[in-house]
């Protein structure tokens, strides 16, 4: 549906996108995630023909949008876009939603039922005659979504649609996105800096970093086997340990900060790697407890910090390198953990994902 090939964009000589390549399939929900300023908005604006790329090719349904300029209006009319900042026209809610239809020359008789239906879908039935400017941010964003939907676009682009909204509005918009995709088969591309939103909604995720896709994959792939150290950090992997691969008893291991960590899959000896270990996969046991099962990494250490996080506590242990795990409060009490406690941190080699060091 959308093909990107080496898409570049510069603003006043400053590079924002430096070669984005990827494709979005028909009927797919594709999330562009990345830190603020990574170029997510720019990428969506290029796809929607609001800006022109400095280089590279964008094809929408096979049409090269830079070459076939004559088609740009018809290509743009295949797409709808919702922007980060909720913005409404200074008129009634119903007229706001009707704008796209009116641009396409729809008659009043055709406009009304469609607007009513769209209002109903976004949960704003009965709001039609209200002045759009008087709505809350969440309501305005739903109007924006209805406005983009009512033209029945084949592609719906959403640039951080929930960035400034309260949690209830976020949940409403998210369920609408899933419904639109499921019921209408609309291809949806949205950007977010909230990786969990990407995980909740998307079939596939593109991680945009430093102006290019550092990784494109299913949410599961991105969250469990990040392609680079930076992606790992962005998707919330707290334990990233840098080291060098060494041979050990025929099994490869990584030496880092005076400790050795076994991992399921490693490159050849001498390679510099970053080990990513999700904090959920770490177990903490008292130092005098029974030994960990053979094969498991077991690293003795001293608790250096216990920081509350919601109903859990984040426990950091210095094992030569600092490793953090997340435990329930009760578990922390049961183990009688406090700063200075001697413990053993254990984890399976399969929980260790190695990426090339940056």
């Amino acid at each position: 549906m959308i093909e990107l090939e080496g898409v570049r964009k510069e603003f006043d000589g400053k590079s924002v996108l430096s070669g984005v390549t990827g494709r979005v399939e028909r009927g797919e929900i594709f999330a562009v995630i990345g830190p603020s300023g990574s170029g997510k908005s720019t990428l969506l604006r290029l796809v929607d023909l609001l800006d022109t790329p400095t280089g590279g090719t964008i094809r929408i349904k096979g049409a090269d949008i830079r070459r076939e300029l004559g088609k740009s209006l018809s290509v743009r009319r295949m797409m709808g876009m919702v922007f980060q900042k909720p913005a409404v026209f200074n008129t009634t809610v119903a007229e706001n939603i009707a704008v796209g239809l009116r641009f396409r020359g729809a008659r009043d008789a055709a406009v009304k039922p469609k607007v009513e239906e769209a209002l109903d879908t976004v949960g704003l039935a009965g709001y039609g005659e209200r002045r759009a400017r008087t709505l809350s941010g969440g309501e305005m964003q739903r109007v924006a979504l209805a406005r983009a939907m009512v033209i029945e676009p084949e592609i719906l682009l959403m640039d951080e649609p929930t960035a400034n909204l309260d949690p209830v509005s976020v949940a409403t918009i998210e369920s609408l996105v899933l419904r639109i995709n499921r019921d209408l088969g609309t291809t949806i591309v949205f950007s977010t800096h909230d990786m969990y939103q990407g995980q909740r909604l998307a079939h596939r995720i593109g991680v945009l970093m430093n102006g290019t896709f550092a990784q494109v994959g299913t949410p599961r792939e991105v969250f469990t086997v990040p392609a680079t150290r930076e992606v790992a950090r962005f998707v919330g992997i707290e334990n990233i340990v840098d080291g060098v691969v060494v041979g050990e008893d025929g099994n490869a291991a990584v030496e880092a900060g005076g400790i050795r960590v076994r991992a399921a899959a490693l490159p050849g000896p001498g390679e510099k790697v970053s080990l990513c270990i999700r904090s959920e996969d770490l177990r903490i046991t008292p130092a005098d407890a029974a030994k960990a099962p053979p094969g498991r990494n077991a690293l003795p250490g001293i608790v250096t910090a216990i920081v509350p996080r919601g109903p859990f506590s984040r426990v950091t242990v210095d094992c030569g390198v600092a490793l953090s795990s997340v435990l329930s409060w009760k578990r922390v009490d049961d183990l009688d953990l406090r700063e200075g406690s001697r413990v053993v941190v254990s984890f399976a080699p399969e929980s260790v994902h190695a990426v090339g060091a940056d």
Binding site: R76, A87, A148
Partner: protein, 233 residues
């Protein structure tokens, strides 16, 4: 002090009894300035839009120039129009000098820059997200222009109100090209509120001046009220 109080009382009487002279001068003021505002609107709004939406070299300098002309001295405009319309001037043969038409021309010229400039500001004031939204909804070039203008309508109306306010309160151009004539017929007279105040004051008719001044203030107040109401929408 006593004279001033007496003047105010007399002014109130002139207004309350709808004194024919006072009413005629007020009505003429409104008609002339309103006509100038309508003409200026017809020129300034499309011109402002053309400048704002257009891309051409020197655009920034042009906008700067227009903004400088906001404070165009009214007597300078008066002098310019006087020279153009005087019998030796290039448009002398129209015989327009010292007619209400001459005043309308002068006031139009006077308020054109500020109305054009404020139209440009009104259009720049439209949220960029609104402009992106219009384009993403598939607007043609014409639909886009129309919709942005529509979105700026209240700010453009405010620009019109500012223009009218400047037109009705100026005295320099009105006296130079109008001549402050009180003729037998309404249409051939050129005495308006500002020129009348100037004359009556110099002749010592304080109460007449105060009455006309109050009316002028009320009109200015009404215009201001319109602007604030508009801007709160």
């Amino acid at each position: 002090m006593y004279e001033i109080i007496e003047g105010i009382i007399e002014a109130a009487r002139l207004i309350v009894t709808l004194d024919p002279d006072v009413m005629a001068i007020s009505a003429r003021s409104i008609v002339i300035s309103l006509t100038a505002t309508v003409v200026a609107t017809l020129v300034a709004v499309p011109l402002g839009a053309a400048i704002y939406f257009g891309t051409f070299p020197g655009k920034k300098s042009l906008i700067n120039l227009i903004q400088t002309l906001y404070s165009l001295p009214t007597v300078i405009v008066g002098l310019l129009i006087f020279l153009l319309l005087s019998r030796v001037g290039p448009f002398g043969f129209f015989r327009l000098l010292f007619t209400p038409t001459a005043m309308i021309i002068a006031q139009t010229v006077l308020i054109l820059p500020i109305m054009t400039g404020l139209t440009i500001s009104a259009l720049s004031g439209v949220d960029p997200v609104i402009r992106d939204t219009l384009r993403s909804l598939g607007a043609t070039r014409f639909q886009f222009l129309k919709s942005v203008m529509k979105e700026a309508r209240f700010a453009i109306l405010a620009a019109v109100a500012v223009g009218f306010g400047r037109a009705i309160s100026e005295v320099g151009a009105a006296i130079l090209v109008g001549g402050n004539i009180m003729a037998s017929s309404f249409a051939s007279s050129t005495r308006v509120l500002t020129t009348a105040i100037s004359l009556e004051t110099s002749m010592g008719n304080i109460s007449q001046s105060i009455a006309l001044g109050i009316i002028l203030l009320v009109i200015a107040l009404a215009v201001n009220l319109v602007i604030t109401t508009i801007q709160h929408r």
